[in-house]
Amino acid sequence: MTNYSNPEVLVETDWVKQNLGNLGIKFVEIDVDTKAYEAGHIPGAVGFNWQTQLQDQVRRDIISKEAFEKLLGDVGISPNDTVVLYGDNNNWFSAYGFWLFKIYGHKDVRLMNGGRGKWLNENDKPLTTEKPRIVPTRYEAAAPDPGLRVMLPQVLQAKNCNLVDVRSNDEFTGKVIAPPGMSETAQRGGHIPGAKSVPWNTAVGPDGTFKSAEELRAIYVNQKGVDPKKDSIAYCRIGERASHTWFVLKYLLGLPNVKSYDGSWTEYGSIVGAPIEK
């Protein structure tokens, strides 16, 4: 793992097991399937619901600084804690959580490599349905970091940067607007002109862990033409898979100035007059 640009943001399942009960380390599960945490989680982990706790419940946006502070304070996380995030679907929404933690300036946040699927399938890793004991804290977040997030006007004006579309091939080509069964959708199918198609799962191996830096560089830079000298924007449908690739480009490959466009296709594909390629 040392060949990643920022290896400290990734921990292995064995490391997590060794650090269960360590007071300065907080574990947070964030899943696509919001029933998964209740069914069983890593002992001591708290669970965040991406639909109700990480999104503003009135306007379409990430939660406010105040809401983030309350969320973390209520589950006993302090700014100096090491926070380890993990979740299902190869860490889709835990990567989104990682992005949110970074936006609000949390210093030491990490992903558990392979996510809950890897933990679940290792015989020596326990799961529990017991709720963790929590001592609430007062959490103070930083002002949101504008360097990690890109909004629609900047996307429309983006030139000379890597646009990375991380959705499936069928979404990229406009054959489908969203994966089957997904309720969040758009008015039109296709992709942002000039975007390169690199589905998010290109970055992971059969056990759900990230590929090596060499493999990732070969895929993104050599095969797909992501120029490491340029700024990069990752997008998907609602921002969670984009966070996964944002994490890869920014932390594992160390590309400069990588942003996630969390408005993603559900926003872009509904804008009247926005240019679309199929």
Partner: protein
Amino acid sequence: MNHKTRVYENVFEMLPSEENPTPLVRLNKLNQCAEFPLYAKLEWMNPFGSVKDRAAWELLRDIEERGELANGRGIVEPTSGNTGISMAAMARARGYRLLAIVPNKVPLEKKVLLKIVGADLEVISDELCPAPGLGDGSINLAKTHAKASAHKYVMPNQYENSKNVEAHIKTTGPEIWKQTEGRITHLFASLGTCGTVTGISRFLRGKNPNIKVIAVQPSEGHDVPGLRNVSQLGVSKLFDSSLVDDILEIDFHLAYTRALELCQNEGLLAGPSSGLIVEGALEIVRRDKRGYGVMIFPDNIFKYTSNMMKHIPGLSSGLQP
């Protein structure tokens, strides 16, 4: 138990065996090639309604014998319906509960049937771009229950448990060999957990290594409950490519049109996975010209009326006064 008079002391005595096989019925309209007859093995004639009776019984007996169901412990199993229906009905009749973890795409009829036979149901969205190597959401959720609540649940795990394969080595394979008097040249089966194709192939190849085993799979992005495209096979540990000669990919819409033809022309009330198998078998009849084929028809059409309405134009019209 008397298979001749078909009088039984309990439903479990009706489960299939060499002495009590499910029927083989020849196709007469859809395949008219005299040199290559195709026989359908009607697995819906099993007492709980599908080919899954075989694996469900073997898995249930195994955990029972190992004492895994003591102290009120129940069963948790991911299922697209048929295994859950068979296993829940068997379990309830023997005094156990079953929690079925069911992908949302499973037809409504199967979900309701699961509840009717006494399963507890947890329905999850299972359409989330399955990642390479990761189990389906339903499999992982069932594993989570079995691990986090081990005092409440044991998970037989039809996707990884070799008893699933053994069921077919013990029953389906010997039945086919005896029923065809060893004349079978081609076996046609669909891929789901792969227990059926792996078990039957292992048995029949032991009798005659020249028997061709043809697996039929729906095209990617399919809507045929219970089946898997090869790209989804990572979740089954029971697939053994050395036991399969050909894997045919069939446009999944044909599963529905062929099922309709089976119902309307052959009098065989077969479900869509059987339709898919027929299409694959007819392709091989045209290719190989001579043979003696056996097709595993997993279940009947009754659980698929809502899917049929979705895929067969015209079925949903004229239903109101």
